[in-house]
């Protein structure tokens, strides 16, 4: 998500091309799709009887109801959040700085690594946290595409849901862990953001 999404967001933020809004819409689509639809969609694409299922089966690959399926479902629903946040983080970087970098002999790749990336850092961090939170909370798409196999594809929210009917204590314990983890991530992002703002603004 980060490896592919970051350069994509940079391009979306700094270039203007005719199909920009089309790409942007495609990126944001999973955001408005109900997770259950996303899960069905993934199943229809990669499932055994799905569009690519036959080819995948020939290659000896079966995705649904595996850990890979969990990751795919989470990536599918969470990446728009990250990419949107990353686009606005890159848009907030002063374009003159990128131009200055170019005149100083740095090509677009080096400009991206040495100027755009560090300056958009806190925004990217916030985007990652958002994406992570959405991924951890993912329920609908996961349960449809990956099922709920104990120890393999049973994610924390599914554990909580099942806990309601057969083991409330286990459900509550999982929820407590999630609260602590989410709070920790949020706090870290905020602290990083404050540290950065303090470094870059005159006192």
């Amino acid at each position: 998500m980060v490896v592919v999404g970051t350069p994509l967001a940079y391009l979306l933020a700094t270039r203007s091309f005719p199909s920009r809004s089309l790409v942007m819409t495609a990126v944001e689509l999973p955001l408005v799709l109900p997770p259950a639809v996303a899960g069905i969609g993934l199943l229809m694409a990669f499932g055994r009887r799905g569009l690519l299922g036959h080819q995948l089966a020939l290659a000896g690959i079966s995705i649904p109801f595996t850990r890979l399926a969990v990751v795919m479902a989470m990536t599918f629903v969470a990446s728009p959040l990250y990419i949107r946040q990353a686009v606005s983080a890159f848009e907030a970087v002063d374009g003159t700085l990128l131009e200055a970098s170019r005149t100083l002999g740095a090509g677009s790749g080096r400009t991206f690594r040495r100027v755009a990336l560090p300056l958009a850092g806190s925004g990217l961090g916030a985007g990652m946290a958002l994406g992570w939170a959405r991924a951890v909370g993912e329920f609908g798409a996961t349960i449809i595409f990956a099922g709920s196999l104990t120890g393999v594809t049973r994610t924390a929210p599914i554990e909580i849901y099942l806990g309601l009917s057969d083991n409330l204590d286990a459900g509550l314990a999982t929820a407590a862990v999630l609260i602590a983890a989410s709070g920790g991530v949020l706090l870290t992002v905020k602290l990083l953001g404050v540290g950065r703002a303090r470094r870059f603004t005159p006192l």
Binding site: T96, E99, T103, L104, G105, G107, R199, F200, T201
Partner: protein, 329 residues
């Protein structure tokens, strides 16, 4: 080179050797000119060459990173997440930058980050960063405009010395005549995307071709119609000149040739314009007084003795022999 802009076309031919100041009203295309040369924008047609290297033209458009063209941006565009040393070293390609830091006097700031620097310090960092590139050409976009007037003079003198040492062709966009004089040997004036006049600062002062150039150089430019020893001004009134002229002309009077008095005086000056003072602007060792659109420069002592201030009615006088005439066709 040529480039279409929103409301007009920029069409410029310049041959730069040494330091050239580019001046013009805002929106005349000065900054665009620099961006085209640096490769941050592409001209629609034209040719850009530097020291025998083709940068643009004949189907070639070298990206900015391959032009080695030092650019000092108007707001300096220093990288806020890097120290002064990292900023300067950015384009240095591993060469030792300490001598450069010493040269522009920022060695002691090497570990500081740009947001903490003063305007003058930032300007020097931006200049050092552009020089560290060992540029083939230097472009400076209003390098002194972000500074307060108190430090501007000193920084201008330093900048002039550094530009002389660098010994590469340089273009400085500026809006102040004294900056152009202290930094550059030649001045090109751009209006509406065209070079309307190019010459030494002195040539601009003595023979401005447009009212903008006259105003920029600080001289009075009064258009009118000449017949014999008289010029009837478009603004009303007439001016006596030495010698004969005819047709459309502009009357040029240097502000320091004009004397001011509170009451009519009987002297040899033949030109008198009476009016209320519009502005009184102190300019270092002289005071610039504007009466009815005409600028006069007198000493601060005289301004004080006559108690000149806006609203006071005075008579501006000058001799016919201090009037110069420019045919405007």
């Amino acid at each position: 080179m040529t480039r279409e802009l929103r409301s007009f076309t920029l069409h410029v031919e310049l041959d730069v050797d040494g330091v050239l100041a580019v001046v013009g009203p805002s929106g005349a295309g000065k900054s665009t000119l620099l961006r085209l040369i640096a490769g941050l924008d592409a001209p629609s047609r034209g040719r850009i060459e530097c020291d025998g290297d083709l940068w643009f033209g004949d189907g070639r458009d070298l990206p900015p990173e391959r032009r080695r063209c030092g650019f000092v941006f108007q707001d300096y565009a220093l990288f806020p997440h890097m120290t002064v040393r990292q900023n300067v070293a950015y384009g240095a390609d591993g060469t030792d930058i300490d001598p450069l830091l010493d040269r522009v006097g920022i060695r002691h700031l090497a570990a500081a980050r740009p947001p903490r620097l003063s305007g003058g310090e930032r300007q020097r960092v931006a200049l050092a960063r552009a020089l560290a590139l060992q540029p083939q050409a230097l472009l400076l976009d209003e390098p002194l405009s972000a500074l307060d007037p108190a430090t501007r003079g000193a920084v201008a003198a330093e900048l002039a010395a550094v530009l002389r040492d660098a010994a590469v062709p340089a273009i400085v966009v500026t809006h102040a005549y004294d900056e152009a004089v202290s930094l550059a040997g030649r001045v090109a004036v751009i209006e509406q995307g065209r070079v309307v006049q190019e010459g030494t600062p002195r040539e601009l002062l003595e023979a401005p071709l447009t009212s903008f150039v006259a105003e920029f150089a600080g001289t009075n430019y009064l258009p009118g119609t000449a017949s014999g020893g008289q010029v009837h001004l478009d603004r009303g009134g007439s001016v006596r000149i030495a010698g004969d002229a005819s047709g459309r002309v502009a009357v040029l009077v240097a502000p320091w040739e004009i004397t001011l008095s509170l009451a009519p005086v009987d002297d040899s000056a033949q030109n008198h314009i009476a009016g209320a003072i519009e502005r009184v602007v102190p300019m270092g060792n002289r005071v610039r007084v504007t009466i009815d659109g005409i600028a006069a420069e007198i000493t601060p002592e005289s301004a004080e003795r006559l108690a000149l201030q806006p609203g006071v009615r005075v008579i501006a006088s000058w001799k016919a022999t201090s009037t110069r005439i420019l045919a405007t066709g």
